[in-house]
Symmetry: C2
Subunit: 455 residues, 2 copies
Amino acid sequence: MSEQVLQYLSNNRDRLLEKLNGFLSIPSVSTDSVHNKDIKAAAEFLQTYLQDIGFENVEQLETKKHPLVYAEYNQAGPEAPTVLFYGHYDVQPVDPIDLWDSDPFKPEVRDGRLYARGSSDDKGQVFMHLAVFEAFMKTEGKLPINVKVCIEGEEEIGSENLYDMLHEKKELFDADFAVISDSGMVAKNQPTILYGLKGFTGIEITVNGPDHDMHSGMYGGAVRNPIMALSHILASMKNTDEVVTVEGFYDGVEPLSDEERKLIKEVPGEDYKETAGIPETASEKGYTAKEHTMARPTFEVNGIYGGYQGEGTKTIIPSSATAKITCRLVPGQDPDKIQSLLEEHVNKVAPSGVTVEVKKEKLSAKAYKVEPNNPLIQKAADSYTKAFGKETVYVRMGGSIPVVEWIEAIYQMPIVLLGFGTPDDRLHSPNESFPLDSYDKGMETLVYYYNSIKE
Amino acid sequence: MSEQVLQYLSNNRDRLLEKLNGFLSIPSVSTDSVHNKDIKAAAEFLQTYLQDIGFENVEQLETKKHPLVYAEYNQAGPEAPTVLFYGHYDVQPVDPIDLWDSDPFKPEVRDGRLYARGSSDDKGQVFMHLAVFEAFMKTEGKLPINVKVCIEGEEEIGSENLYDMLHEKKELFDADFAVISDSGMVAKNQPTILYGLKGFTGIEITVNGPDHDMHSGMYGGAVRNPIMALSHILASMKNTDEVVTVEGFYDGVEPLSDEERKLIKEVPGEDYKETAGIPETASEKGYTAKEHTMARPTFEVNGIYGGYQGEGTKTIIPSSATAKITCRLVPGQDPDKIQSLLEEHVNKVAPSGVTVEVKKEKLSAKAYKVEPNNPLIQKAADSYTKAFGKETVYVRMGGSIPVVEWIEAIYQMPIVLLGFGTPDDRLHSPNESFPLDSYDKGMETLVYYYNSIKE
């Protein structure tokens, strides 16, 4: 069954790549309103393509910002399951533009990689699904399963309108399971199933001291220093064993099973020391760097500022100091509860003589985890292995994809994270690229996978 | 003897004030080369005035930056002692200019205060000495003591060239004692003798982690966070009892005697809570805010920065974090030794996985303290009391005046700090002013004082 479809993809490779290049040439940067017409153009590209393939109810759902492209295919028959395919057509800004070796919106192949903003994240991976749908329609006259397509234009700016729409139009997006290709493999050509993602929450702490910067000679010894107070607060939240010391932080976290430790150990990991350029790694006591990164919650100070930051010396007691903190959470941790625990802790340990403000970050997400032995996951792993000729590894990732948590929370549907990116893709950075290997074998994987669902 | 001189000052009050206003109208801002011609004009004003009064060897000593105005008066006779009078004619910048209620370089009297940049720090106080010298010459035909005048143009930018000149031209500046009016009284019309100043040293700590900002999802749990490491380092240097916990920091510090505690208690202090707008003061355990501020060493973080400081969230582990630290020192503490202790401490407590850089600040000074019962001090106190009609208080100050330490170190001469400023003068800030009360009674004090020296 798959042979014909794969043959079609092979025969039409140049034309399809040309078509993808057209899609990548549209600078659909979502954060800058100067690109609103490009956003519109990218949405129209998708709308036209979906219509051409033979999708029904193809439309651009208007939001407060950028349209969401929606489409349905219901001709696989009432017996066939329905998949919700999610992706996004917006891209990150390209600054600093002078660090690009070629125009980010003039796709160019060098050394087997397709260089362009969005080639990996996520226009390239979205296109692969559509090309596979086209191939099925052109060869078999139908898709093996029913499909709902949801491709948004605001992923890089927080997916706020998608969040509302998922809640408001529940039937529209309801399906038997979801497939998302917006992630990567742990190494090039290493089939990788993401079976867990971390949740996310954050706070910003501001310590307010004197109502203006004070002369350190006149007031040193009388006025509490807000930077020092903030340092004491931060130091009380995580110790140098990398253990979070906020009471209740680990409550409900399931212990890491021997089986999972083994799974994690088998993942071909990257050399953190080399990638980060650090003398040695630092992980939670009792866990390896890979275990902590993939499966244990983290607490990071993302930024800090206060007082004089220029050249030389300015002898002041500054009026305030601020730190930005985000945590990555694992199953069993509720983001809202963690936020409250952090806030309570800060208020409890704040020294006298200063006032402390805790701002809770709005965006938060629960961790996501699916059982690796779920049949939908197993089929994906088998398809991967068949296409790439290598055993699939199962990975929990330190990152967060909020839409995954939302879909799970609202619909309780299994979500299959089929990512084809590689660690060298330079997402969000200059010289983003995507290996054509991944492009070809990834589409082959999708052909096997969509075919396998109905079996 | 003093009557005639005081009468002269009174008869010529308007003219002298007009002359001071001319001096204050010159924007002699030393930090900005755009004002180089104004610096020159201010130096020329002083040169001309000193020549007109009758000083000898009046000259502008050229330096690598701004000239130092030098003059001598040797006609008081070989029996009379020689005083080195130090002051500075440069001023701080005026930014933010829109917070000034009147032009900083168009002096204006409002509610008994003379508003202008430099009116208190230090052009106004320098002028008072020159006006008193003029009054002596015009009425008595001579000064009561021999005088060396040293008025520099780089005090607000670190006095670097004066430092070199004091070392290179020792004879030029040598004298029996020094008088400096570049400080203030603890309250308006409260005669105040500064008998101690703190020393000064500083370091800058930079914690380097990964060689670029890392994604907190991918690397959180493997890479030590430099901000967190810096917080642990800082928190280990001073505890929340405001005790410095760097080993050896207090070695050699003389304990505060009961007598001195009594002296400090008697100083009419300001309300730190009110001035700073803080809920309560925070001082070293076992000491009052006034004791700590005036007579105990301090440790302040003046500034901190690292990672993301913009709006919202950026989920990174930053590549580095930096803190600027300065300490105010008391007698018994050597600035170089303290700097080394701080550096050793930082290196000792730095956690693994990061590298730490300690930059030692160049400018440093030892603390200065003179015995309050030194006869030169006693005469100053008596003159003060006679002019202001109030007992003089003896104060140790938290601030540092490096030139005081240099003069003491090089010449071992007693230094009399006769300040006439008030806490409301807003030095270095918009709306700097100087009370005309202080101006009149201050000159009266100087007349009594210079007359009393020869007795």
